[in-house]
Symmetry: none
Amino acid sequence: MKLTGKKAACVGSGVIGAGWAARLLWNGIDVHVFDPNEEAQRQLDEVIANADHALAKLTLAPRPVKGKLTFTNDLAEAVRDAVFIQESVPERMELKKSVLTDIEAHAPADALICSSSSGLLPSDLQSDMRHPERFMIGHPFNPVYLLPLVEICGGGQTGKTEIQRAEEAYKFLGMRPLVVRKEIDGFIADRLMEALWREALWLVKDGVATVEEIDEAVRLGAGLRWAQMGTFMTYRIAGGEGGMRHFMEQFGPSLKWPWTKLMDVPDLDDDLLDKIASQSDDQVQSTGAGLDFRGLERRRDDCLVSTLQALKVHDIGAGVELSRFEAALYARAHPAENDSAIDTPDLAQPLKLYETVVQPDWVDYNNHMTESRYLQVFGDASDGFTRMIGIDSDYLEATGSYFTVETHIMHLAEVAGLEPIYTTTQLLAVDEKRLHVFHRIHHGRDDSVLASAEQMLLHVGRQSRKASAADPVILDRLRNVMDAQKELPRPDHAGRGIGIKAR
Amino acid sequence: MKLTGKKAACVGSGVIGAGWAARLLWNGIDVHVFDPNEEAQRQLDEVIANADHALAKLTLAPRPVKGKLTFTNDLAEAVRDAVFIQESVPERMELKKSVLTDIEAHAPADALICSSSSGLLPSDLQSDMRHPERFMIGHPFNPVYLLPLVEICGGGQTGKTEIQRAEEAYKFLGMRPLVVRKEIDGFIADRLMEALWREALWLVKDGVATVEEIDEAVRLGAGLRWAQMGTFMTYRIAGGEGGMRHFMEQFGPSLKWPWTKLMDVPDLDDDLLDKIASQSDDQVQSTGAGLDFRGLERRRDDCLVSTLQALKVHDIGAGVELSRFEAALYARAHPAENDSAIDTPDLAQPLKLYETVVQPDWVDYNNHMTESRYLQVFGDASDGFTRMIGIDSDYLEATGSYFTVETHIMHLAEVAGLEPIYTTTQLLAVDEKRLHVFHRIHHGRDDSVLASAEQMLLHVGRQSRKASAADPVILDRLRNVMDAQKELPRPDHAGRGIGIKAR
């Protein structure tokens, strides 16, 4: 089911429901949100503000116009024209069943209805529904607007085509649906999370470790591997050359050692609750950088954005999903039938040929973009320019290419990691063998100039490895750019030499 | 215990032992490695090659000269002069006890002996030792050269000061020691990993999910949060404004629901082993990009490097450890007590302050050093120059530092990967706030000039972040250099502007 141009409804707007609303809106879908709670609208607005902050950093791909949000206290109004309804009310069977009955009474007959339940069985939830075939679990992970996983689990009466429609809808939203093969309590992910959580509670209860120590034990070790590989691939690689069977044979037996207390369930009495709540407060003091609740959320989101981007560079795990989503956003922005309509850049202005965010490995100790990365970005701008005038792989192979022989950089302002930047390029002069360009790096938010680079490029023959005239076709294109830009003012710093004047 | 200038021994060089060797070497420590296995040395070399690849990307901080590696088949030779001995032989109680006895027979009496055991109790392991007070568990996580966590767990006879010495040693190596409060099987991290693993095995055995689906369920959802926050902080934030107590009260009861099979241990029979091994092979086919075992390791490491760098930008979790380690590397590069002992170079000549080989990741597809790396090398030359005149970590903290504001590079010749290069630096002018330098990059074999860079550096105050006068002591040193170099001819290209002359 493609959601473009259609309406969605979120029933319940706590942390999860509000996260769904944010993801839908950001994909250009209009969303009606229903929640009877008095505080709901304020909390919804806060979650959406956090989501906007995170999503703005997530990708440079073209974003659709944000959908329209309507908040209502009237369930009928919320679902009346929705084709996709996501239920996220509290995790109580009777409440959910009654809300589902109300939704059905007012929603279009073919609207998909998905529940965010993290553990209730869909067969139970759908048992009183009139059209149970279009109901299933669509279980997301917090924050819903950033994490790609959604578990789909149908009940006994759920239709196969309806599951396919839901898969399509979630993919449209940039998610990775995982269809659960058997209807079991807790599905897949929550079973794993629950196992870890139960063991962690025992460690606290027994005084083996504090809340903070347990989190450190996860995030400084295994957690870093789980984020990219999960658990089986981690062990397979750890097993060395022998692969998975070797690993299992070597470490399998320890499963039977009495390491864990998992045979039993810790009693969540007041003592344990007090212990965990107060240790958790201590942890926020010592690792939370004085942040309040929304600040902690925002820091979590910033880290998730950076992690997703890092994994994208390596084409692994959640990074693969981000790449797919970006490709889809580009495709939606330039549908193939419109290829011919892509605008030719305005040659009379400095040319915007390259944009990026300051990558995490480009920054120095102070989190500022390090010196040599400026030259790298200027080099990318030069590459963008030579590509624009027709230096492609055929030309490189047959004729030659432009090499930078001289560069004059002026550093004007600092820029921090993950900030958006872009370049503009002005052509100052051209002859048969040479290109004289002036690049600027701008901050993506306010267009201010962070640095400039004047460069001389020399055309070098593929065979001769010596300076040679460029192909006439290339030279024609260069002269066109030169003509178009001749009215641009000459940059102040062009032609400048370096020196300290005598005083 | 500071390890600088001391020797370490790794007893056992499988995946874990070789990882320890790589971490020690990279910290400038000489390491003796003992392993009787015929294949050991080849595997060690392969792991160290992977580690070199990863660590070269991890940080721009100054790296100490790599330690010297000695591989030996003689345990006595390996441990004789070692102050720090890390045992990583297979996980069998009797084998480990016998190896520990052998180590003790030949090691210095005050050498620390730490075992990489992931679950054996230190009281048991040390029961036959003559000096059990200096024995403890130091349990790392694979890959040891990248993940910062190490669990320290002493036995009944372990000394308190010895534990403190081990903490210092591990911190020196860029790790974060977590001292386990109670001696329990599996310590902390492995208990948590084991819980997740056991539940995962049940899901496969029961046909609920495949190996690949389970890994997807981890790495596209919860794993991304565990990498930065662990489990308690994740839930605290998910609990919304109500904090931890609210979360526990809301979700705690589900602990008692019969979600998991954790009450029982899956039988690792041939059927289950076959199922997991073949599903794991399928997973490598579908998500492994056709990589072999070492390739998968390298991809894992590249992702870990990027994740660590991303977390560093946000000053969270393992990123905090990376920042600390980098700060320590900078401090080690400028040892305060040795300042006066640095050899005074011949100031009357251009100063040779930096040399290296062209690193494998610095070259383009033609195997030539890529443009931006020239600026990186020139930046390293400037750093060498400012260090020489006394800008150390204390000065950076208290007063300020020099920033490059302008650079003019001339590219004169190409240089291939792995070729040796060095820089020379000539001081052209100096005033209270500015340094005007002229660097050259030379080929290490024939001293020819590959490129030059004229740079203007500006002194910027630590607090004000504005141009300010350098400390008089620094200015005196600069004037000394200026006086010594005043007879040097002015470089031809100094003060030059870029342009195409009309013909």
